[in-house]
């Protein structure tokens, strides 16, 4: 898993910073609802880091740790992890549960809602 351990390109948002960073944020924002104990989240982590680097000029990727911020998981009806929710100007425009760990697949998933 090269690279992802040294530079974390995905910023963690919490209940207290969610409104300011996401709902009032402009442009496309992707949020990964995850937990560190979830092996599937660990499996997509290096790919998501790579995607975050690839799209950083146009999109922001954040993470919400649902083991810590359960309230946000409830608000967005998160049924499990990892769940990607795509926001555009604060509005939900896409959602994916359990993306397969593959850079091109994740890249397509995080771009598709903004191309429609």
């Amino acid at each position: 898993m090269p690279g992802y351990k040294s530079i974390d390109r995905i910023r963690t948002v919490t209940t207290s910073t969610f409104d300011r960073l996401l709902l009032k944020g402009q442009g496309p924002i992707v949020v990964e609802f995850m937990s560190y104990g979830c092996a599937h989240c660990g499996a997509i982590e290096p790919d998501l880091q790579q995607v975050a680097e690839m799209v950083e000029s146009t999109e922001k990727i954040f993470r919400v740790n649902i083991a810590v911020d359960r309230e946000l998981a409830d608000i967005y009806e998160v049924q499990g992890t990892p769940t990607l929710i795509m926001f555009l100007n604060g509005t939900v425009v896409g959602r994916e549960e359990g993306p397969s760990p593959d850079v091109s697949n994740i890249l397509t998933l995080v771009r598709q809602p903004y191309e429609e």
């Binding site: 560190y36 104990g37 660990g42 499996a43 499990g80 959602r95 760990p101």
Partner: protein, 182 residues
């Protein structure tokens, strides 16, 4: 590399995994039954990557959840079967047989190799015992897991069937009511 000094090795365990919690609880009991100061500190991995890095800068939270880690007082880390051997060496009730792990034959330590294999198998079968967060089971475990899940679904109507094999559903009682999504 900055390492915080610690009096005893720290065993990190996955507190989201029932099997891991049971093993950690057994280790704690063995430590408490021993004389004097704790020979091992048992603590959950938790959810804070920075807190873990404060224990040892080389420690990554994803790796910690991936395999058993024992943080040694000298700043080194033991992983997998080596960590298990070191834990057994530090427990008063099990240290009597742990000399066997050091026996080497032509550069191979057969008892340590058996322990490494046993750890790998146990780590692989954790999903069968209800550890949904432990990831996609190995191919040889999937058949057993499928049967266990099918049997469980007969008694549990709230069972969540996920369309993706790369998804960890939350336990039924923790799931919010589902509405139509986009």
């Amino acid at each position: 590399m900055e390492i915080k000094s610690q009096p005893a090795p720290i065993l990190l365990f996955n507190d989201e995994c029932g099997v891991c919690r049971k093993i950690a609880s057994w280790v704690k009991k063995q430590v408490q039954a021993g004389p004097g100061e704790a020979s091992i500190v048992v603590r959950p991995i938790g959810q804070d990557p920075d807190e873990l890095r404060a224990l040892n800068q080389g420690l990554n939270i994803w790796d910690a959840y991936g395999t058993i880690h024992l943080l040694m007082p000298d700043g080194s880390m033991k992983l997998g079967g080596e960590a298990v051997a070191e834990v057994l060496r530090n427990l008063p009730s099990t240290r009597w047989f742990t000399w066997t792990f050091a026996i080497g034959v032509f550069g191979i330590r057969p008892f340590q190799a058996i322990l490494n294999m046993a750890y790998t198998i146990l780590a692989g079968v954790r999903p069968v015992f209800g550890c949904e967060s432990c990831g996609t089971p190995s191919p040889w475990v999937r058949q057993i897991r499928w049967i266990v899940k099918w049997a469980a679904s007969l008694f549990d109507e709230s069972h969540h069937s996920s369309p993706s094999p790369h998804f960890t559903p939350l336990p039924a009682k923790e799931r919010p009511p589902q509405a139509d999504h986009i």
